[in-house]
Amino acid sequence: MDLLDQLADTFFNWEEMAKVIPALLMVGLPNTLILAVASGVFGSLLGLGLAMMGISRNAGARWVARIYTDIFRGLPAILVILVIGIGLSPIAREITGSRNPYPLGILALTLIAAAYIGEIFRSGIQSVEKGQLEASRALGFSYGSSMRLVVVPQGIRRVLPALVNQFISLLKDSSLVFMLGLAASDREIFRIGNDAMANTGNLSPLVAAGVLYLILTVPLTHFVNFIDHRLRTGKPEKKEPDELAAPIGKGAQA
């Protein structure tokens, strides 16, 4: 019985949880969201560029995209975060005059996300039937306009579930920026839980942080399933029987 009590106290010490919850919500949650959303948005923009390069007719552009993707997908996230966050900090200090590693954390997460998102976009764009580009070009649109108006919007729509999955990954990976040693006001969910654990020697604050992550990620995974299902089945309208003759032929009868 003692053992059970001890376990309950280690993981579910409500007092310790209650103490950390304000900081988790007021500081950790906004910072985690800022890190994930900012790197998600910038990563999507960079990823779209990588995808366009990846399918380009220019072999040089394809190579650049390929090498970039191989590197940033092939390295552990924590290594990229440390290398960028520490390695670029003198340059960042030169430019911004600030020692704050926070922007570099966003940059590192962006560079990683772009590699994955670029591959997601590329597979989506390449899954659009060749006839779409052909029809658009036959209307007189240039390659660029055809991609922008016809092909890319369809490609992105198809990979929305994979994009949301990638965003879930970012939410979780944003915890790794704790390695860069952020100021107290810049700390995200994991770091706040971890600090409280270190201070109290009790795991409950980390459990609270974990619950907060789940509150963010579980609805998103269900949202993925929802849009995935919706994209596959659509919202069916009722079809009508085809009427035969079209009334264009006034000239034909004359």
Partner: protein
């Protein structure tokens, strides 16, 4: 009904190779303004490729393309394609846009018409093909025949001088073929210049002014439909006709 901006289209000695595969081996095709030329022949003979070369979706290796007697090979290919409408076997409507947006997209983005005016013109085109009431549906909710008529309206909206049809009825259920062929017949009789790649021998025989029989990348025989269908001069055309008729 609307007047078509018909032009005369000529392909001269067109050659195209994909690697070692010599797909077009010196094709000549002349389509007089306001007439319909049909192109028939076995699968893989290069008919569909010929259409794509003549609107420069694929650039020919050799030869010339003339519209109203003037070579268009040095023109901007995007501008050339605005003058030549094309209808595909698989319709290729844009599934993420409504029927009306499919028709008005090029009017807005290429002709730079304001949204309202583009929509009005698109509705007019849809009315001509009998599908104005479907303007706000998605293509996926239309039958194949309806989709193909939208595709025709989309091409006509740009007021093209020539219309290409690439096996426009081959992907349709048999009962839907008639409606699309009727529309194509109306266009032909209305004075549109058309090049029709088709397996519909009835259409080729009864509607077109000139029939071109292609096989293995060359024009084997060309002439008025009576001659092609009742007095074929080559063994290859006789063989083909006996296979398909």
């Amino acid at each position: 009904m609307t007047e078509f901006a018909s032009g005369t289209l000529t392909g001269k000695n067109l050659h195209l190779s994909f690697g070692h595969n010599h797909v077009l081996r010196g094709i000549d095709l002349h389509v007089e303004k306001g007439t319909t030329a049909s192109v028939i022949g076995p699968s893989g003979s290069g008919k569909s490729t010929l259409l794509r070369v003549m609107n420069r979706l694929i650039e020919p290796d050799q030869g010339d393309i003339l519209l109203d007697g003037r070579s268009v090979l040095k023109d901007n290919p995007d501008e050339l394609r605005q003058r030549i409408g094309m209808v595909f076997q698989q319709f290729n409507l844009f599934p993420h846009k409504t029927v009306e947006e499919n028709v008005s997209l090029a009017l807005r983005k290429l002709r730079k018409l304001p949204r309202e005016q583009a929509r009005a013109e698109a509705l007019e085109q849809l009315d001509l093909v009998g599908l104005k009431h479907k303007a706000d549906s998605r293509p996926a909710n239309l039958s194949g025949g309806q989709q193909q008529r939208v595709a025709i309206a989309r091409a006509l909206a740009m007021n093209p001088e020539v219309m290409f049809f690439d096996e426009a009825t081959s992907a349709l259920d048999p009962e839907l073929v008639k409606g699309v062929l009727a529309l194509m017949t109306d266009l032909a009789k209305g004075g549109m210049t058309m090049v029709v790649v088709t397996h519909e021998m009835g259409f080729s025989r009864n509607v077109s002014d000139n029939v071109t029989f292609m096989d293995a990348g060359v024009v084997v025989e060309s002439g008025p439909p009576e001659q092609i269908f009742t007095a074929p001069r080559t063994e290859r055309l006789r063989g083909f006709l006996s296979d398909v008729l």
